[in-house]
């Protein structure tokens, strides 16, 4: 639905002056790739006076971005007067991955404005507008990404590595290395892509299906040669959380795995990055 406050706040749509005119905006693209959020918006305006001002570069179409509570920025149409495209680095936005876009028409210069399309007596008035003044605004579009980039750039406990095709793991479906600060799991490109897809749909399922054999192997290796692994970051992390240093036999391994997988916030994967749970109950 088009909303036309023009020029705000002297006129607004409650006067009904602009019922025949449109300021419609469509979100034409939104994606996140390689840590960059990209967005595109296209406007459709049929109000002749505004169109004339836009063509003469006295007014421009822009998007006001709010990532509450920290960021407010303006992205203006440049090459195409009716389109705004922009990119945002994931590190520059708050961790709730929440975007609010407000399409606006703003003045590029100070100017005298008279709208003869308005009802009397407004049509007889000339308004003095400052640069950056809002003369048209559209209702906001709010987008919250359910998945994004995790707060931690961390050394999560398990890191998956995608082998270049046609390379395959040497030890069955995955190669597991424990001599690094993290548990390195190398899988074929096909499996990696499958894991990514499953994880985007149901990460807990993947946790259960994939973490189980990895932890089983890891903990068996650990109890067989504790001295080699006690100082490893992955071992200490698991111990801080799940006391793995106390494990001595296969039964205790199974118990530990059961406990780990039951943990509601165990997310061990690095290749898929998931927004942490936020609380909005209060």
């Amino acid at each position: 639905m088009a909303i036309f406050n023009n020029p705000f706040p002297v006129l607004d749509n409650s006067f009904g002056n602009f019922s025949n005119y449109q300021f419609s905006v469509e979100c034409i693209s939104s994606k996140v790739e390689n840590g960059i959020y990209s967005f595109g918006f296209k406007s459709a305006i049929n109000e002749p006076i505004i169109l004339d001002l836009i063509e003469n570069k006295k007014v421009c179409f822009c998007i006001q971005l709010d990532c509450k509570p920290f960021i407010r920025k303006i992205y203006k149409a440049e090459d195409l007067y009716d389109e705004v495209t922009f990119e945002i680095n994931y590190e520059d936005i708050p961790s709730n991955f929440y975007f609010e876009f407000t399409p606006l028409l703003i003045t590029e210069t100070a100017l005298d404005y008279k709208n003869e399309n308005a009802d009397t007596p407004i049509c007889n008035y000339t308004f003095k507008l400052q640069r950056n003044q809002i003369i048209g605004s559209h209702s906001s579009l709010k987008i919250s990404f359910e998945t994004g980039y995790e707060t931690f750039e961390s050394s999560p406990i398990i890191k998956f590595v995608r082998l270049n095709p046609p390379e395959k793991p040497k030890n069955g479906s995955m190669d597991i290395r424990l001599d690094l600060p993290y548990i390195k799991v190398s899988v074929s490109s096909e499996d990696f892509d499958l894991f990514t897809k499953v994880n985007s749909l149901e990460s807990k399922l993947l946790d259960t299906v994939v973490t189980f054999p990895i932890l089983q192997y890891t903990l068996h290796e650990f109890i067989n040669d504790k001295d080699s692994y006690l100082e490893k970051e992955w071992a200490q992390n698991l111990n801080n959380q799940f006391n793995i240093f106390d494990i001595n036999d296969s039964d205790e391994i199974l118990n530990a795995i059961h406990y780990i997988l039951k943990s509601p916030h165990s997310s061990f994967f690095d290749f898929y990055i998931k927004k942490y749970e936020t609380n909005t109950n209060d």
């Binding site: 960021i71 407010r72 590190e91 961790s95 709730n96 703003i106």
Partner: protein, 273 residues
Amino acid sequence: MNNKENIYALKPDFINLLYNDYLENYQNKKIKDFLIDINEKYGNDILSYCVPGDTKIFLDDEIRYVMNTTPNKYSKKQLYLWDYEYSKLIYTTNTNPGIYRFNTQNEKVPINTIQATDWRIWNYLSLFKLHKYVIKRWGESEDPVRIFIRKLGNGNFSRHSILRLYWTAEISNDINREKKLEFLETLWRDEDFMTQVTERSTANMKEQILYFLEFCSNPDNEIILFKTKSRKGYPIYREFIKLFLADSNISTISNCNKDEVFEILTENLNACL
């Protein structure tokens, strides 16, 4: 010293558990009672209640020590000076490590926006790692907003005991100046001014809020803003800040350059007199 302390993130479920505990069992009690109790109960095993993995966020050990152990030397009316002092202390600059991360060149740098808005970390700091400081500064309060953050918002950020210190420095940090936190002193001119500025949506415009603080730092303007009372009996700055907020509704202030912001502010200041 300059050893680093790992900063962990409390599990959201654990934060909820503590929050509900506070609401249910600490009615008519003080924050200090709650902090003492939870540190006795969970303090020795706190990692069990943190999200696994490393946040890669660190707090300088000496700073933690200073904050937790230095007694308050300010009177009740001067507590904002304490806040100002610790705000400088907790923020990373070239000369102060504060709360930081490492960049790819292994240099200490300020945490990024995602990290700075991770409520799990700030809860960890206020409830556990810096709880002794919180007891000194806010121990007599009963307001849970001083120790808990449960959602992102200007109000929470400017009231939470630890995040307000970090956030005011972040807002005031001007990377183009030699003295990067030059305007932090102005923002902490008094507690009410800091709250009035940071609680409003205009605080989201990083570049323009720096112009705003620069304008308020001008000695002539400072006298008017802070030492003159409006007709309602408040310092002039309250009305001045409201006008700036009103301007942000009719103009795209976030697109204004310094001259344009100063022009708006000069007009508003004259309107307040």
